[in-house]
Amino acid sequence: MTDDVNAADEAPVEAPEESLFEAPPMGEQERMVEAILFATAEPVTVKELAGRMPHGCDPAEALVHLRKRYEGRGVALMRVGDAYAFRTAPDLGFLMQKETVETRKLSRAAVETLAIVSYHQPVTRAEIEEIRGVSVSRGTIDQLIELEWIRFGRRRMTPGRPVTFVVTQNFLDHFGLESARDLPGLKELRSAGLLESRPAPATGEPDEDEDDDSDQTEMFDEA
């Protein structure tokens, strides 16, 4: 067309949208590409850019300039297939993640398992299951380990050498305990009204609590 050698040298004064036959200066073209890539909902091909820009524009060249301009910036001009788009600089991806911390209540199974570990540590999985009267899912244990509330203790010196679980310092911190021994015994729980169920029938084993405590102490000394 009328693109002659001098066209590029001309001053970028004239309104670009009017110059149908003379391409706007490269700086303007760069702005155009920038605006189009910014506003378009998907990556844009060079062909598409050329179609949307005034006649005689060279989007490919404008892209080269633009890409350079965005080097090291917070967004980068990226090639996506044969199209182009602005993308967040890879190192800033972390800004696109808003961590919403959602606090959920621990499941009943987890609470019970944790309670058993804290009262009976070191305790094996089989023992937990015996006390709870139901099997303990792998997930429950994993969750408590992930929360860093329980960890593996020493292996029990019994056949099969099962691993034991003990509570962690994190656990003590979270529950505001100096040591797991500070956990209230059953009797205290009952007097505090924490045993929602009726007191044990007539036979009540009054020394159980004591047992508990002593057991526990023993266990902790071991741990």
Binding site: T100, V101, E102, V111, A115, I131, A200, P201
Partner: protein
């Protein structure tokens, strides 16, 4: 704000406009809008407008509309009445005994209202003439969702923990209670026992003597065994194998083997 849009020289266009007003009566957004349009025919700044002339224009308009039997909304008529009143106030010399605002005050307020409405119209036009989002300038097309990494932290309170433990332990305590079933002497057990013994019971015997050994002392056990033994006795009586008697209310219940004749 000057209405320079129409050529001020030609009077005819005004009349045509005024006539057009009648045709377009529905096109007005209320009497104030109509007044504002009429005021433009005065070709002066709204601040210098002759409210008297405007009132006359308006009243003339209403009369014409009536002649044409156009239905006018009530607020147009209310305005007409008010303007007629205003006109009389403006024309008559002020009566010092009369209460309320003077004609000039009322006229000034009307002029203010018109000016304000015109100003708002102007502002609205300027506002709409601005570059607008989605028309002249644009927002980001490819938005990146902030991926909400929902980090779930689980929490439990010491109370949860203790309650959990209590729950388990009370379940434990419940087990001995289940064991208590050992203290229950079922009717089946009583029946089995009595079937074995009844053959030896030729004479009236207190059913309490049929209680199993060791069940007499513990009150709970005795209650259970007594009940089941009694029930078993009834069952045996129904089968026709024993006879039952009780001499008096609360007196001992006695049974004896029924003499079998066959």
């Amino acid at each position: 704000m000057s209405d320079s849009s129409t050529d001020p020289v030609i009077d005819v266009s005004d009349r045509l406009a005024a006539e057009a007003l009648i045709v377009d009566v529905d096109g007005f957004e209320g009497p104030l809008d109509l007044l504002l349009t009429l005021s433009r025919t005065q070709k002066v700044d709204l601040r210098q407008i002759s409210v008297l002339a405007l009132a006359e224009q308006y009243l003339a308009f209403i009369d014409k509309a009536r002649d044409l039997r156009l239905e006018l909304a009530a607020d147009y008529l209310v305005m007409a009445a008010w303007l007629a009143f205003l006109k009389s106030r403006l024309l008559l010399p002020p009566d010092p005994t009369e209460e309320g605002p003077s004609g000039e005050e009322l006229a000034a307020h009307l002029a203010f209202q018109l000016e304000r409405l015109a100003a708002m119209r102007d502002a609205a036009a300027k506002l709409m003439a601005r570059d607008q989002l989605g028309r002249d300038f644009f927002a980001r097309g490819i938005t990146e969702d902030v991926t909400r990494t929902r980090r779930v932290t689980y929490t439990a309170t010491l109370l949860d923990l203790m309650q959990g433990y209590a729950r388990i332990r009370t379940k434990d305590e419940f087990r001995p209670f289940v064991m208590d079933r050992e203290k229950v002497f079922t009717m089946e057990e009583a029946l089995g026992r009595m079937r074995g013994l009844i053959g030896f019971a030729g004479d009236w015997t207190d059913i309490l003597s049929y209680l199993p050994d060791g069940w007499e002392m513990d009150p709970a056990k005795r209650r259970s065994a007594t009940a089941s033994t009694f029930a078993a006795s009834l069952e045996l009586a129904k089968e026709g194998r024993v006879e039952i008697r009780q001499s008096d209310t609360f007196a001992p219940i006695q049974i004896r083997r029924k003499s079998d004749d066959g």
